[in-house]
Amino acid sequence: MALQRTSRGLVAAVSLAAAVGLILTGCTNTGTGSNTSSGSSEQKVKSSDGPTCDISTYGGEKIDLKDAVVGFSQSEKEDNPFRIAETQSIKDEAAKIGVKKLITTNAQSTLSKQISDIQDMISQGANVLIVAPLNSDGLEPALSAAREKNIPVITVDRKLNAEACKDYVSFLGSDFVEQGKRAADQLIKGTGGKGKVAILLGASGNGVTTDRTKGFVDEIKAEAPGIEIVAQQTGDFARDKGQSVTEQLLQSNPEITAIYAENDEMGLGAQAAIIAAGKTPGTDIQLYSIDGTKNAVSQIVAGQYNGVVESNPRFGPLAFKTLKSFLAGDAVGQDIIIEDGEYDADNASSKVDGAY
């Protein structure tokens, strides 16, 4: 009796699994079209003053990139436009230059995986490494493995708490404090320097969050005494959290006139919350954020969003150019800060195609 029931259950289970298998295989054909391209707006260097690094100081041998095995260690899952565009840009540029081999890894937001990824690439014979660090600290074991073999390491988008030209060669990235400051400038201009503002913070304990908050808050304090920051709450860089936090804030502070989100995703979540509250985003409540994703910039074009400061993820060309000079024996800057663009109502429609 029990046996019979069991087998009936199993038959049901197997047929359900088969049905679902069909559904899933069906999906893969229709669903995985990616519209991400490496895009057009190439990074420009804003500043690389200060100390430089060359191969005789760092150690190692000169080599042509065409003969080099390049390892790229991505930090976070490629589930957001920034990471997708960043990896794609490295791949595209490697193909363009014609490096001997490009190895890419993804640490899936786990520090220990990033360390072993880098060590694996070294044992696979990587001659140079491009690393997008998951965190400012914690990569020492991987860096020392590279150091032992005199493998040059370029870090992109997040700066390490380590010594340039000793633990790694150079850092390429944006100035996140500056991004926050520019978002504040956009907001001050848009609101006329008056009103009540809520900040949607990024993930707690993240250096990007700290910098983008500092740049914004300091600039508002210095330049716009008429603006009051009434709330600072974390939206974890995620759209749904940005939406639910904004819903709460709009209920308790109906007088909020502008929102600054530390990434585009939270800004778009806030936009949904504003619409749900029966107000018009862009007019009743102004919206500013940082990233420069196509989703957000196209909302500026639609008049439902006010400003976006770009954080350019396309590190490929600049990273390989820096490596090429370094490997040829030239001195390269230790801190290469890139110039980020910005989008507002005046330029969004002409620049939206360059957004990622």
Binding site: G9, A17, I23, C27, Q233, R239, L249, Q251, G269, A272
Partner: protein, 320 residues
């Protein structure tokens, strides 16, 4: 078989009352505090916002309560949400209802594998569902691609934003599911069998209950409810985000169930308590956000409230 609480010696009647009604008392206290200290809290719009926001956790917690009633646990509910969210936009071209059904069926695969591993192969629930928690989300991302995908469909938008007589559709769906699960637990043979398994699986087997089949069905129901939560979450955003939807929701759901008086040791299922537990978590979060409490403190405060609630429940939570 419905209750297997061992009364603690010299337990005051006040403590008993607190155990039974503590979660409701906590809700009342926090609401009163908000009435006094939070501007605009008792407005229709705000109360509606709280109800809408609690819906995903509440629906997931219903399924979790059933699973916990069998002395199990389901860590893969977030993955089931992600699976439903991932599949929905792929089939939305066929219309809202077909896409909805296909999305739920896709999420049921996760429940099916859970149930099969736990009921037929004898894998421990925490191990089986932990595997599916990781693998299920991976599969969802494989199916959907990792990028966010806007879902623009009248049916989806209505579910996310529409109301009927001022009550949001999402809240109505949740209320209906609460009613169905409550009847299932309290009024059907299936409900009695479920708590019998949680109370003493061996005895239930000896009594001739179809234990394996019941377990399989419970994990399917849990995944199906999570799928509904995933679809409502997707509808609220008007976008499918399988990479983040339902992250850590298993913790909120388990907390809601336990705070609501269902012991982790199985043998009891408190649906009203689970609803109250989910509402309590929601109101705490809302209160902290509205008072602009920094994230680090609000995490500590939430944890402290949970510890107190579970401590009061201890007589029920830790004994059979």
């Amino acid at each position: 078989m419905s209750s297997v609480t061992i009364p603690l010696p010299r337990q005051g009647s006040a403590l008993k009352l607190l155990q039974k009604y503590g979660v409701y008392l906590a809700i009342v206290l926090i609401l009163v505090a908000n009435l006094i200290f939070t501007p605009n809290f008792f407005t229709v719009d705000n109360l509606r916002t709280q109800l809408v926001q609690v819906v995903p956790v509440l629906i997931v917690a219903l399924g979790m309560a059933l699973v916990i009633g069998t002395e199990g646990i389901d860590l893969s509910v977030g993955a089931a949400m992600a699976m439903a969210a991932a599949v929905l936009p792929l089939y939305i071209g066929y219309g809202f209802l077909p896409a909805l059904l296909i999305a739920i069926v896709a999420a049921l695969v996760i429940g099916l594998v859970n149930g099969a591993l736990i009921a037929f192969i004898g894998v421990q629930p925490i191990v089986a569902t932990l595997s599916l928690m990781v693998a299920g989300r991976g599969l969802a991302l494989l199916v959907a691609g990792e990028q966010l995908r806007p879902v623009i469909d009248p049916g989806v938008l209505a579910l996310g934003r529409g109301t009927i007589l001022g009550v949001p559709w999402a809240v109505l769906v949740a209320a209906a599911l609460v009613a169905i699960v409550a009847v299932l637990v309290n009024r059907t043979t299936f409900g009695k069998q479920l708590v019998a398994i949680g109370g003493n699986r061996r005895a239930a087997e000896l009594a001739g209950l179809p234990v394996k089949r019941i377990l399989l069905v419970i994990y399917l129901v849990c995944a199906g409810l999570a799928a509904v939560a995933g679809i409502i979450g997707t509808a609220r955003l008007a976008a499918s985000v399988p990479s983040t939807i339902g992250n850590l929701i298993e913790l909120s759901a388990i907390t809601a169930v336990v705070v609501g008086g269902t012991p982790l040791s199985g043998g009891q299922v408190k649906i009203a308590g689970t609803v109250a537990g989910a509402l309590l978590l929601q109101i705490i979060t809302a209160t902290l956000v509205k008072h602009n409490v920094p994230d680090a403190y609000s995490q500590i405060i939430q944890a402290a409230i949970i510890v107190v609630a579970v401590y009061i429940q201890r007589g029920k939570v830790f004994s059979k």
